[in-house]
Symmetry: C2
DNA sequence: TGAATTTTGTGACAAATATCAATTGATGAC
DNA sequence: GTCATCAATTGATATTTGTCACAAAATTCA
């Protein structure tokens, strides 16, 4: 018996406004997993075969550019994570998923996601609404990154998501907002 | 009789891999409209009440930052356009939609989109897949904008979408890739 | 606890890009 | 075709940010 399934359903209901009792999923569709700190959930060139729901913990997505790690996203408890393009288009991922804290997840394999989509229009709706939310997040992120100074990007992140700044190291935040570690350090020291 | 409905259906079928004969929509749900060059389809602070399918023409999305126009997207024939966040969350748009060429569209009012979603799981699927594509596009755009030099951003755009560079003025492209007009001009002259 | 490792901070300097001002070139209205 | 308007270019300079090198601080773990 997987206790975290109720937590997942609560997340889905909250995110989509669909009543919990209308959200159905077979327990066998999901796999519970635990990761230690700094473990890789997905590596570059693998095809992403799962959507994961994070019960607890913290995960980062990043890609390599000239050997340097550039973070694209941070995923915390009560959120989902995957390499979106890889999952949806069945292509090799250009990004890694790595835990930054000890992390507990519920894994939904891609083929089960398809089963849900094909057997239930509620799940089509869930997929659509969650994808819409991701779209809104991403278009805000584009605006956030484009045409803003390093200082404004840091201050905006601080305002919008102060908790992230507490939980993620500065070197990881730096590439997420598109500045070097040194510049971020100087911004923080107020120069 | 709206001739462009068949064109819309072909677009949806091509984008979603759903056979055309499974895509149904009442003609009365859609409104045909024509805009001249430089007309506004949506202004800041309005709630976006339509998704539009562009039959022909070119539209830009932009927002104002310190009185300056920053372009966020360009939408061409055989594509859809809207202010996504405004449409989905029913909030005032922070962006404008303006034609850059004479443009012919099919307008789908938001309430009709909801009708489609609530009466047909095919339309839930169409919505999901189109939103997925937008997500992939946006996450590529984030990667494209973050941590790239002005020159690389221009060259990447040139490579990925040379047609856009032909059709859109340099001043509009500049803010789209997050550089000033002057810098873009210098990049193009090869300095 | 203490050594090793990782992360963060600082300084000096270089490179990239923005800003401001002026000019040239292109386009559209009449 | 001409004038007016808008777009693109160019130069000079200021500002921002990156790069490299190293030191200080914090964290990890044996």
């Amino acid at each position: 018996m997987k206790a975290s399934i109720e937590i997942l359903k609560a997340f889905l209901s909250k995110s989509t406004q669909i009543p919990v009792n209308q959200i159905e999923i077979e327990e066998s569709y999901l796999v519970e997993k635990r990761y230690k700190r700094n473990e890789y959930i997905l590596s570059e060139n693998q095809v992403c075969n799962h959507v994961i729901y994070i019960v607890s913990g913290l995960i980062r997505s990043f890609y390599l550019k000239d050997g340097l790690e550039i973070n694209t996203a941070f995923h915390r408890e009560d959120a989902i994570a995957c390499s979106f393009n890889s999952l949806v288009n069945r292509v090799a991922s250009n990004e890694f998923l790595q835990t930054l804290e000890e992390t507990e997840v519920l894994e939904l394999p891609y083929e089960n996601l398809l089963r849900l989509y094909h057997t239930s229009d509620k799940w089509q709706e869930i997929g659509r609404i969650l994808t819409e939310k991701e779209c809104v997040f991403l278009s805000n992120r584009v605006t956030f990154l484009n045409f803003e100074s390093a200082k404004m990007k840091y201050l905006n992140l601080l305002k919008k998501d102060p908790e992230l700044i507490q939980r993620v190291s500065m070197q990881h935040l730096a590439s997420y907002i598109g500045v070097t570690r040194e510049t971020l350090s100087r911004i923080r020291s107020g120069i």
